[in-house]
Assembly symmetry: D2
């Protein structure tokens, strides 16, 4: 099958190229960049030299690209994918969007948090957190690949919501991301000397991944969940750790919590539940599609602290996108994604 | 005046040597290390060469050291200072302990969290969070210098407790510390390849700084405060960021919050309240005694998120110790501590 | 085929486990550690959880391990492999040693630089710098896998020695390695706070990789080459950059240099000659078996500056070991090693 | 005395503000930035909050600024200072330029390496490597503050040239600098994800600090010295290490080398000669004005390897500028510069 990548020069786009290159069933189609049309991607990213050495096209003729591809991945800033999606409504191509455009069941939520009118509100996109919505993913025409923070944070608590073990009120997600999450655009805040030996929060009480996490928490809780979400910038390239706080319902035991995780994730290849007392580390999942989850209960406060770690560019972006592609096209789900984490 | 340092070879001890070297009123007395007695400190720490180049003594003759010093700083693992304190009960020397031994009003709390019988429960030590207990500090004979996480976390929320603006229930402190906080002892978890490009929580629901934070929160709230405290290890040398979550009381305005910070810290040299919407960064206080504080209110959840940043070795250890010494001996409080942060 | 790993708990051993796990022709046999016998490797290295989760054996019954393996990799400190090699002289197993024991044609050089009597001087080991000695590698019974600095430094200049374009006198190799090169043993110099934000040379004029580089340079120059070799410690996990200085012979042109590199490496999968003016970067080869080479000529000084970058754990250790295994066993040489570098 | 800073928003400019703030004899005059005129410097650099909180002026009225200052520091890209210098020819203000404009005795060297016509070739500027040219510095009207690489590299070998112990041919300087050396301008190569976990050379055989090093080497050797100079980019904020290779003259002993260093630097406050076998580390001089020097002799090759470490923003820029100001104005040379290095 043939896969094209729209917006190949960002960190997520380049990570897609890496994973597709190692995928035995995929032939790479067109790769595009509007700002670097005509350049060779390997000139911009020399780690690809002699391997993914091809010219960047423009996405202007997107219909033609679509006609010649089985799937297109869109790795553009939000606001672009919904234009492409509506343009390709009649194409047979399947779309996997790594941006925010198609992630919300209710397009009004998108419009409120992204301050942008939705241009393709009737697309019927599927939210592709693979482990949670696998059946829907199989049939998706337009797939919304989840955000990095959201993938990490959702997976940490969803088993507890599903099993009804935690309160829906009072959830706090304190999350920390590596700097690839900030992208490759030129900002003082992304300079080496700004990030190195530094750490701080940003987007407090206003980050766009908040409603996305709430949407899936609510889905599994069966009622509306409002959370506190605080992202921070880590001086590392890759990795997200979400530290999630929730109030345990009265009388919930350790065994019930362990069972909830096992019920939902026991058979999942990419989710490793490390269990009670374990603190997942971002380096243990680096450059892999794994999600490591640990938890602790504080009987003094009645809370559970659930922690999850992913690589934001893999399970948080390109890896999950390929996982979804596999599911959508009936390929074995772990194909091209079985590499072990890089440690140290 | 003459200051001696008991336990000079850890990171806090060495930071003390740096600050005392730059202090115009202090002459360095004896410096000790039991494991490296007889070695020159500058051979272990060549950044001190030609400046603090002296032999490490043993603390075995602590009475003699005390007799020849105006103040002794103790920078040893917990459990040692209380022995020294009881030994020096009749000495005129004043003691500043950077460890945990003397930090609790109720020695039973110490015994419960440190799993160790207290050997000097009647010492009447003063808890030296300078800005909060300045009057007591002036008169202290034995001063308990606060922990690093605790200094950072306490200062973020105390103005709100004092002004009665937040609920005493539901407080969560999600804190992140640089690796000097883990000390210089040889552990796999402290190796470069273990910490670099990594991040994880530790001591979840069990860290010893928890009751110390609670003690001061309770003091200012006027009732018992139980908190959730989660420390994490940052891949940086220095710096702590505490992200503190509290439920605002009904109807509290931004202006009331701003006033509460200003009332308590408006005149403080070392505390910079950056205000609403500001996210303090650990690099902005590096190698200085500053505390930077910012806050945001989330009206969706009714919470305030207060964030504070310090250098764990300065305001979190040696710097505050020197600040306390200044107050105890009637020296202008900022003496030797006015250096600007090192940036970048 | 079945591969066992003797000394599986160091960084090179663990990297071998990662690569062997992804190798389609290899079944993992026994893995050993004398200090951690009985432990599960995934408990020490949680990134291996659910994948390489097996107990560490002892190497005491090495003959039995050998009898049940087609190949054994030895990833132990120097001095051990030569004992194992002589013990297994009559075994049919083939040995790939990642240490220094078998790297020297003349065992007296080993004894001089390693200050240790050689216990298996008649082993007829093959020096496995694959691209240079491929024919010998095919037939090797005991293969000496080259050192990390040596692989990187040798490949940078050997084409020029072979083509007779540089003087044999005056060669300087200024090399810089990531901290995995220092291993996982507990030393103050390997602590995060010792390495982070730091940089320094070590082993000046005395590092053991010096005679190993000289041996191959001499082999290709056709006369004895004595070099200056200076290693430095980089605050990164992985990667070596060698900056190599040599005096160009009179009248040598850019084109001759380009041809020399192309003649030797033009067909090599893992060597990417970036060409004149290019400065290879260690991040562009991270976690891959690639070698990136660039060069510049300074007509003011008559020198060529050749630079090469590798991942010290892959092409500098485990990756080249697997490459050699492939060649020894008639497997396609790049099998299990085609993963692209991890960037960023 | 009053000091103004022209170009205060780069890393060197901001470091000047830090050092001037701690200088007991200096009052800060005007600070300027053309791109950020009207902004408060503390809004751009919050580490300065509550301390150096003032508005950035324009340098358009440079004569007025000069008239109201005793000294002006220029921290602008090359090409600007020579315009200011010629404009202020009749002012009584003394100028310390941190850029390259005034560093060359022969302005043709400047023009050749900087590809720019010199506009103030008759300025009679003094080259301010303080320890080497102290007498000239005292009388300087326009002082050219040396480059960062040059300060570090010059100091490592000058004692050996002066004492006639090394050959003038064959000198190689392999230097490595932290990322503040690349400045604060927005380039992909300065992004965190480009620098972190990376290392590479740049400006091979063409870096502008080459002729500056050669000028002083030649001055002390008494004949023309041509060197090989290769800079590299280190993933740290601050620090330069120069590894310098020179051929020892026949029969030179260790003692002669030690004496040469001692003769020149024995009385210098800021230079610490660590001696034979010592490898200086950049972290041991961080945020200080110290220069640490070590050396080794390789009798196999007849070479000396001299290594020196500085903080590129302090002794390599702002610190040496203040040191020069002290000398120029008859203030004790170490005033405002005695802070110990920050370690770890």
């Amino acid at each position: 099958m043939k896969a094209s990548v729209i917006g190949a020069t960002g960190y997520a786009g380049v990570e897609l190229l890496r994973l597709l290159d190692g995928h035995p069933e995929v032939e790479l189609g067109v790769i595009t960049s509007e700002s670097s049309t005509g350049e060779n991607i390997a000139a911009m990213y020399p780690h690809l030299a002699k391997r993914v050495s091809r010219e960047l096209a423009s996405m202007k003729e997107i219909e033609k690209i679509a006609a010649d591809s089985d799937v297109i991945f869109i790795a553009l800033p939000h606001g672009h994918a919904m234009k492409i999606g509506s343009q390709l409504r009649n194409s047979k191509v399947r779309i996997i969007d790594l941006g925010g455009d198609y992630r919300f069941k209710d397009h009004k939520v998108f419009e409120e948090w992204y301050k942008l009118k939705h241009e393709d509100p009737t697309a019927n996109a599927v939210y592709g957190l693979t482990e949670l919505y696998r059946e829907e993913v199989k049939k998706a025409t337009i797939l919304a690949n989840p955000g990095c923070y959201t993938t990490c944070s959702i997976l940490a608590l969803v088993p507890l919501f599903k099993a009804g073990l935690i309160e829906t009120k009072g959830v706090i997600v304190d999350a920390k991301s590596g700097t690839t999450g900030a992208g490759r655009s030129l900002k003082v805040g992304s300079l080496y000397c700004s990030v190195n030996e530094n750490f701080h929060a940003y987007g407090v009480a206003s980050h766009r991944h908040t409603p996305e996490i709430e949407q899936t928490y609510s889905d599994f809780a069966g009622e509306e969940v409002i959370i506190q979400f605080t992202p921070h910038l880590l001086p590392v390239d890759r990795g997200i750790l979400s530290t999630c706080y929730a109030n345990l319902k009265q009388g919930v035991t350790d065994a019930q919590v362990a069972k909830a995780y096992n019920d939902l994730y026991g058979e999942e290849f990419f989710i490793r539940v490390l269990g009670k007392g374990a603190c997942p580390e971002i380096k243990n999942v680096r450059a892999s599609n794994y999600v490591d989850i640990g938890w602790e209960i504080d009987r003094r406060t009645g809370r559970i602290i659930a922690m999850s770690a992913i690589d934001n560019l893999v399970k948080g972006a390109a890896g999950q996108a390929v996982q979804n592609m596999n599911v959508m096209f009936g390929i074995e789900e772990t194909t091209g994604l079985r590499q072990l984490p890089i440690y140290p």
